[in-house]
């Protein structure tokens, strides 16, 4: 691949021990994030997207979690070989993470400003007054109005959108090379979500970092990402540049997801459900994990693991029948206001 890989996951396996057997939450994930790139990781609950993110940061408690195999290469170094000291320098330093719910991330007994300043002092060795100055500057960068006053505000005194901005400020304080954003706008209202997505896009331009964006929302993916990986049952089933994925999805699960979105642009196209429910990851189905729910399944699907079919140098699909023109393609969304302005 031509682009330089900042992060490269190779056959990553993260399992959780339970009394009834290992839950294979992440089961052989390959993913490349290039420098300055935004990669979306999409999937439904339980597909393993958050566990993938937390594995990169090694935020999972071990046990029950266990890194059962594979490599996490960050600029060529395997993070799984790092000591806890090295990892804790890396976290919030060269790799930062933001979460869905800032209320559980922020400490309620410290002011917003103190928490950002703490991160600056921890990773950049600044003194108190320098850190304060940098914090106020960062607050301005992330669009917090009246930053001097907000420095002394406690998290509960801020709105949801503002808290999200504070968390982003903490994540960016170290000028990370990679930002992992785990459902950063899921808990927000749609107008606030639009503000935060806009902010992330601007910040990426000015900071030049890579973003791994974890979301269940294909709309957010379409707006934000350069390339996308779709996860199902602990595995990546399709991976492609964003335009290719939306224009020519080649995995029945990706197509199913697209058809299931209730859309505000077409009146007639009712959302189509995917029948059945996600697989049990203790005893995953043999062969393709999506096969029990797949409208295109054939006998081979529940017998043989699907190969990674390469549809173009950057487009992969883990389906026996990818690229054969068998799948009915979804209709792409249009913007409702385009019809308004007619």
């Amino acid at each position: 691949m031509a682009r330089e890989a900042l992060l490269h996951l190779q056959q990553l396996k993260t399992y959780f021990q339970t009394r009834v057997g290992d839950v294979r939450a992440v089961d052989g994930v390959d993913l490349v994030i290039g420098a300055g790139e935004t990669v979306g990781l999409v999937g439904e609950s339980g597909s393993g997207k958050s566990v993938t993110a937390r594995s990169i940061m090694q935020l999972l408690a071990t046990p029950p979690a266990r890194y059962a195999g594979g490599k996490i290469l960050f600029k060529g170094e395997n993070l799984l070989d790092f000591s806890e000291k090295e990892m804790s320098d890396l976290r919030g330093g060269r790799i930062s993470m933001i979460f869905q719910d800032p209320m559980t991330f922020l400490n309620p007994v410290f002011t917003a400003g103190e928490q950002v300043a703490e991160a600056i002092r921890r990773h950049q060795g600044k003194n108190k007054s320098e850190a304060r100055k940098l914090t106020i500057e960062l607050f301005r960068t992330v669009g917090i109005p009246n930053p001097e006053a907000r420095y002394d505000a406690y998290p509960h005194q801020l709105s949801g959108g503002m808290r999200q901005r504070v968390m982003i400020a903490i994540a960016l304080s170290s000028r990370p090379e990679l930002l992992i954003a785990d459902e950063p706008t899921t808990a927000l209202d749609v107008t606030i979500q639009a503000q935060i997505l806009d902010l992330l896009r601007d910040l990426q331009k000015s900071f030049g970092m890579s973003i791994l964006l974890i979301t269940h929302d294909l709309g957010v993916v379409a707006e934000m990402c350069d390339s996308v990986a779709v996860m199902y049952g602990g595995q990546i089933v399709e991976q492609a540049p964003v335009e290719a994925l939306f224009e020519d999805p080649e995995h029945p699960y990706t197509i199913g997801l697209m058809n299931a979105i209730p859309r505000s642009d077409v009146a007639g196209a009712a959302p189509k459900p995917i029948e059945g429910s996600p697989p049990d990851l203790i005893n995953p189905p043999i062969g393709c994990r999506f096969s029990p729910r797949c409208p295109y399944r054939q006998p081979i699907c529940s017998q043989v693991d699907p190969p990674q079919i390469q549809l173009s140098p950057v487009h992969f699909s883990a389906c026996h029948f990818a690229g054969q023109g068998r799948f009915e393609q979804p209709v792409l969304a249009t913007r409702s206001e385009e019809r308004v302005s007619l």
Binding site: V190, T191, Q193, Q195, H216, E223, N259, S264, D265, V340
Partner: protein
Amino acid sequence: MSEPVATPLLDVRGLVKHFPLKRGFIDTLRGKNASAVRAVDGVDFTIARGNTLALVGESGCGKTTTGRCVLFLQEPTGGEVRFNGEIINSHDELELRRRRSQMQIVFQDPNSSLNPRMTIGQTLEEAIAFHKIAPRGDRAGAVNDLLETVGLGGQHRNRYPNELSGGQRQRIGIARALAVNPSLIVADEPVSALDVSVQAQILQLLTKLKEDRGLSYLFISHDLGVVRHISDEVAVMYLGIIVERAPTAVLYSQPLHPYTQALLSAAPVANPKLRRKRLILPGDPPSPVNPPSGCRFRTRCQHATELCAAETPPLRAIEPDHFVACHFAGEVGLDLVRS
């Protein structure tokens, strides 16, 4: 679409719900006025039999409170609710109980609305027994019928809620509401907690039930995509009031209130070719304790003028079925969305 002669199934007029705030002792001494969270501040709407009205808005706009007040799960501060043309007297316990077999609610989170210590069968039977829907001997059959109606089977009777998936639990939530044969269901964000693939299953079920049983829904949601496929009419709420109400197709093709336009513009579209500058509302919604004077949306509206601060725009009919609370509805309308 509108039959002015027929009595609407549900007719809500001037509904108000204020939650009083506690006043400190010092404030009382100083004679400071008691304040309140004005969650719902004068809402009117009707739902015709067999129709679905969607209440759309962001968190804190009062949509859930409106739904709860309609069922008298919360006592409204003012206004009246007519069901089948009769005013509901909320002080008459017996009447309320009778009404509740006609009006039911489905909640967002089936985890917290199902009793974890009761099996699915017990949960459903309780509703049937309480409202004396079926005699004792027939209850088991009635439960099985209900389970089948919502796409489950008799094998689920003896399961506990924790043994079911999120989608199945929501089906039980719906089955419980159906147990008493209601004619109106208030569905409060019934699919928000579900994954898209399962969400579509539940939407399909709700649509089918509406067709088969002639149900009416008051469908509360923040998701304009979901609402488009389930409702006949949409009312958009902002800070305790309805700012726009129109038949679904009209609202999506000709949104006239700047807030509706912003909501539609802000929703991400699943097509990377359509990325572009969107209309992004600045700031956060103001506090419902002290809503802005005049038009409540003016603090975030790019078209606000002095008039908007001075005078409250009434919800007026621009077309027979299309109501908008904006001084400039139809004038500033359409250019906005291109910004």
